[in-house]
Subunit: 498 residues, 2 copies
């Protein structure tokens, strides 16, 4: 028996009775990995029952990042969420956010744990956590994600554990739990290599705060990634060529670790690196570790992966489970405050690769908002890494929706990464290295190298019109024309002129 | 005799002969402090002579930040600058940038030295540096600014020194020179208190690289700040009230250091803190140290100031000189890579106060571009601090140009600090604390608290129109109306409806 708090074992339904209208829940879970799976569904049912009686029932939900349908989905369908921080990627929840039913605020993922501890956000009074073990001393061993779980456990008055035997006790030892002291007097974060462990393998809590333990045997409900498509493979080719080019010119020191955003393009780059004979074995200092690590390890390309979440397909989870002792020396999960910490990212010189929703000719990147107004998922860790990376790379297919949307636009409708922080842009058309360029030269370079042929003239026309008519030509924007392509898309369904 | 390289002493005119068309100059100088003063004028004269003969003569100029009229002014007037990094604030240079005569690219100030060392930017082949001493071993003692001078000296093939006796050898000991190793294997930046010294008091170079020494006795050509006006004093009052409020609620630990941007509003806050009986003595971990430190020290409010530039009025420079031994224990100048380093700013928990050019109702800040197109000065260190601060505060009068411009707008025309990084906004109308708010609630709060009464209805109308008509109401932007206020300003000279 793993748990020594037998008297606290109860059903998910009974545990959900401990949750009340107005509670602020801090939950485990990061990119569908390691979120509680049974209790949120029962909280949703409880909310529905309250609502049917005409009584209010809503909670605020803080997590690491996105969670599975059992949590973000079920609670959204039950109309049970008031505020939601700091990231999500669930279709139903996104719709609720964009119709004003959920108050969402997305944070740099490295920030939220500190904000909670500082009292900047309402304190989570309940923590609900997926764990592989809990001891009578109050040592909680987390499952497949670090997230901000340690800080939520620290702050909460009541703790509810989903004790998950899917990976079970074999999962112990994959986490490194470290919570920085409050300023002004605090130490460095003593990570000098991606492999460095600086904390404990468990979260230590007052055992009296644990009010319920719910037993389960549930894999993570992760969505499988698609096999890389041709566009993603071409993008990956440009990226790898660039990395070799930089290395050969002495501008990319050997041994820099990599960060990869989530998604199909990033996955394609990793898959291509696994196959590339010239790519030396490397380390990941990243946020989310995905199935692609297996191929990398099989091809002797990956030395070590440090992240905050192990987001694997069901097949990947089983593969991981079968060889869990092998992976224990190769994978480490940290709290997101540490996986995404500016101190470490800048110290190690991380090469950051993230996907852009759209970027503009002057080098600003939109990662979050469609037409400036509709939230996709959130900024996530993209700015934590981009802002402090040795070299940040943004990737995107040059078009979306069958060519009706150009990913390169005159002006982004929301800026998540400013021109001051970006350097390299890649589409299947090519790669633009705009380091040291003025905005106008950046624009010429980005249009020439990255834009789809269908949109090149349109983008050059905007630039040239601006060079003649803008109030200043440092960044020759003409405000009444800056969003013409977006407005056409909104009104006609395409950015192309008919 | 301070310099022991007597044979290299020459006139500024002769030193300028060592500069050629196409050279890349890395110069000392940060916010008008410690830039070379004689040689740039002679380079400008040399450029004019070349141009009169119909021959090309342009240099690229990298500095710490803005420099005085002797440098940015003279070289601009001579049409002698090709590329200019990473910041400027000279009227003539700004005009040249905005008419396309100078290729300017502004960087986060913490980044440029590293980019130069990494080979991301063309290497400066000549360094021109204002110094108070240079020894035969090649120890160069800098004057009133750290900037990125140490890295430029390291990279340059030729070094030219302006040996400035205005402060003279008494200035020795104010600098702490530390250059981080390249990644991936590098140590922490070992600053745990603002007073920590981690390097040497001089820059060490190969003495053979020094090709010229020009003697001078020149104070910095700093512009005096205005006395705080009523608006700035009201803003300062709101800020101080907020700080006490946060401290009393346990959300602002005692002893956090402060950063202040340059300008009249920041200066007013410092002046008010000097007079405020409830403000405990504090430290500055900042970029630019200005005259206001004297009042703070006289009022026993300032314990220690760490920065990268000592930007003082002429009166301030004389005051400093008279009591230089007293200030040696209270002021330390670092390289801007370190004064603005994310590792240190986050570790110490800096409270960051910067001025916004404009901010939007959803919490995005424009620090650089007028009407999206005209460069003001550059982003400077504002994002280095904002992004990693314990709590970032943006301040601005609610209107500019006699009320014809609202500093609060529906959508900023350029984003330097995104909604994800901002928290507190202050105008003379009030203070908006938007921590944890969704974009729509932020908008209500910012309009209510910060906007000028003349613009409140206009801003609420935009918000309410968006809530009805935007594609999504997470951030209810309507792209064809987002810049209406700016376009009216451009076309009629005012954002007000006639």
């Amino acid at each position: 028996m793993r748990s020594v708090q037998k008297d606290k074992i109860m059903s998910a339904k009974d545990a959900a009775l401990l949750i009340n209208d107005g509670d602020v829940i801090g939950a485990s879970g990061f990119t569908m990995a390691g979120n509680p799976k049974l209790i949120p569904i029962e909280i949703a049912n409880r909310a529905i029952a309250f609502h049917e009686k005409g009584e209010p029932f809503k909670i605020d939900l803080y997590t690491g990042a996105s969670t599975g349908d059992e949590m973000d989905g079920a609670l959204t369908r039950a109309d049970a969420i008031g505020k939601r921080y700091p990231y999500q990627s669930h279709k139903g929840m996104r719709e609720a956010i964009n119709t004003g039913k959920i108050e969402f605020s997305d944070f740099h993922l490295s920030h939220i744990a500190g904000y909670v501890r500082s009292g900047f956000l309402k304190k989570p009074n309940v923590a609900i956590v997926d764990a592989v073990d809990v001891t009578k001393e109050g040592h909680i061993y987390l499952s497949t994600s670090g997230g901000s779980t340690a800080s939520y456990l620290l702050m909460a008055d009541k703790i509810i554990i989903e004790l998950n035997s899917f990976f079970g006790e074999k999962m112990k030892g994959f986490h490194d739990i470290f919570i920085p002291a409050p300023p002004p007097v605090r130490e460095r974060i003593p990570i000098y290599k991606v492999t460095d462990r600086i904390g404990l393998p468990y979260v230590s809590v007052d055992p009296d705060k644990i009010v319920a333990i719910v037993e389960t045997n549930s894999p993570d409900g992760t969505r499988p990634l698609r096999e890389p498509d041709e566009t993603s493979n071409i993008i990956a080719g440009h990226v790898i060529e660039f990395l070799h080019h930089e290395h050969n010119r002495g501008r990319l020191p050997a041994g820099l670790p990599y960060q990869f955003g989530v998604g199909n393009v990033a996955n394609a780059v990793l898959a291509s690196m696994a196959k590339d004979p010239l790519t030396e074995p490397f380390n990941l200092y990243t946020e989310v570790i995905q199935d692609s690590v297996f191929d990398l390890i099989d091809n002797d390309k990956l030395l070590f992966a440090s992240g905050t979440a192990l987001t694997l397909s069901l097949e990947g989870q089983n593969r991981f489970k079968d060889e869990i002792d092998f992976y224990r020396d190769r994978i480490l999960l940290r709290q997101q405050e540490i996986s995404n910490h500016p101190e470490i990212i800048r110290r190690l010189g991380v090469v950051a690769m993230n996907t852009a929703l759209e970027f503009d000719i002057f080098g600003n990147v939109n990662s979050t908002h469609v037409l400036g107004s509709m939230m996709m998922n959130g900024i996530g860790g993209s700015a934590d890494f981009t802002r402090n990376a040795y070299i940040p790379i943004f990737m995107s297919p040059s078009t979306a929706k069958d060519g009706n949307i150009s990913s390169i636009v005159p002006m982004v409708t929301h800026t998540d990464h400013s021109e001051h922080s970006t350097k390299i842009f890649v589409t299947e058309q090519g790669l633009a290295d705009v380091r040291g360029m003025s905005p106008v030269n950046r624009a010429r370079h980005i249009i020439e190298r990255c834009a789809h042929p269908d949109y090149k003239d349109m983008l050059f026309d905007y630039l040239n019109y601006g060079l003649k008519h803008a109030p200043g030509v440092h960044t020759p924007h003409v405000l009444d024309k800056a969003f013409e392509m977006h407005i056409r898309l909104r009104d006609t369904g395409t950015m192309l002129k008919k």
